[in-house]
Symmetry: C2
């Protein structure tokens, strides 16, 4: 384990993250939504909630989890407004218009820990989101990619420790290598 | 300016990053390649090099740069093998099979500074890449997204300072906000 800030004595708080992806629009966004799901899983979130069309995104992510393990969940909901309203923990919206990432993270750390709902949009999110959340946080103030914003936010929130997570009941596991591709087939279940 | 490790006295080395995107395959990858370009730009790289089909990716990124400023370049090349072979600086390949990110970055920092070629593939990269580069580095050893791997790698390399970059001749600029969308129209050119 190699937490980046272990020298400074800061322990990453125990946030439990659910990612809510708004604006998922049928085939056009399938690839991006799949990336969002895989990134959520790989960077330590426990669940992805999709709104909108039912399609292959859920299947492709679940298929991957079957091979690579872990308890990551993907679900669809019909009414995201109700979902956000009923959320009992912290609500964060990632947007290029939001406050600086460093500042936003400081505020979150002062809260300590909890169930964190992380909301990301496809393109234009409904205006009401901005006032429905506790924090609107940016990852840089330039247009780029919600996939990137999600990954960097989680990597900063978990201080790089998420990259050392293990995935239960994995059938496949990679052994980091300098020059080759080493995949282990795991039979310990 | 708020560098994350300023307390520890570590100064981010002056790496100049060119991103080489392999395997860009016509329309299917246009959205992902656009995300790759926008992320490269927003996270401090100076240039994106695309191989393969000529399409709208270059135009959409350049159009964005016209509005949001900066000197980010996007170019196409026909022969990536030659390009990689002729590269005079450090060559890094981002791959889920590579060595741990923390370890890989330590090695890069020991090199100090320089022109860094950062190679990312779409899906399967040609096997020869692994032996053609100086470092094969992973961002976690789970399958996720090349967009995410790129963003997190750059954010770690530049230690979060890239999010404070300014973009010359920008016509649009966002003013970070807690609850609203503040865009400035810049007329100082």
């Amino acid at each position: 384990m190699k937490p980046r800030d272990s020298a400074s004595g800061v322990v990453p708080q125990k946030f439990s993250v659910t990612v809510l992806r708004l604006g998922h629009r049928l085939v056009r966004d399938e690839r991006i939504s799949t990336h969002i799901g895989l990134v959520s899983r790989a960077f330590g979130a426990k669940k992805l909630v999709l709104t909108g069309a039912d399609d292959h995104t859920l299947d492709s992510i679940n298929r991957l989890s079957q091979s690579w393990g872990g308890e990551f969940e993907v679900v669809y909901i019909k009414n995201w407004r109700e979902f956000v309203r009923n959320w009992k923990g912290i609500k964060v919206h990632l947007t290029m218009y939001g406050e600086k990432l460093d500042t936003g993270l400081e505020k979150l750390r002062r809260k300590g820990a909890g169930e964190l709902l992380l909301i990301i949009g496809a393109e234009k999110v409904p205006a009401e989101i901005y006032s429905s959340v506790d924090h609107n946080i940016s990852v840089g103030n330039q247009p780029h990619s919600e996939v990137a914003a999600l990954a960097v936010f989680l990597d900063r929130l978990f201080m790089g420790e998420e990259l050392y997570n293990t995935f239960s009941k994995a059938r496949l596991r990679i052994k980091p290598s300098l020059r080759s591709k080493k995949v282990e087939f795991v039979n310990e279940n």
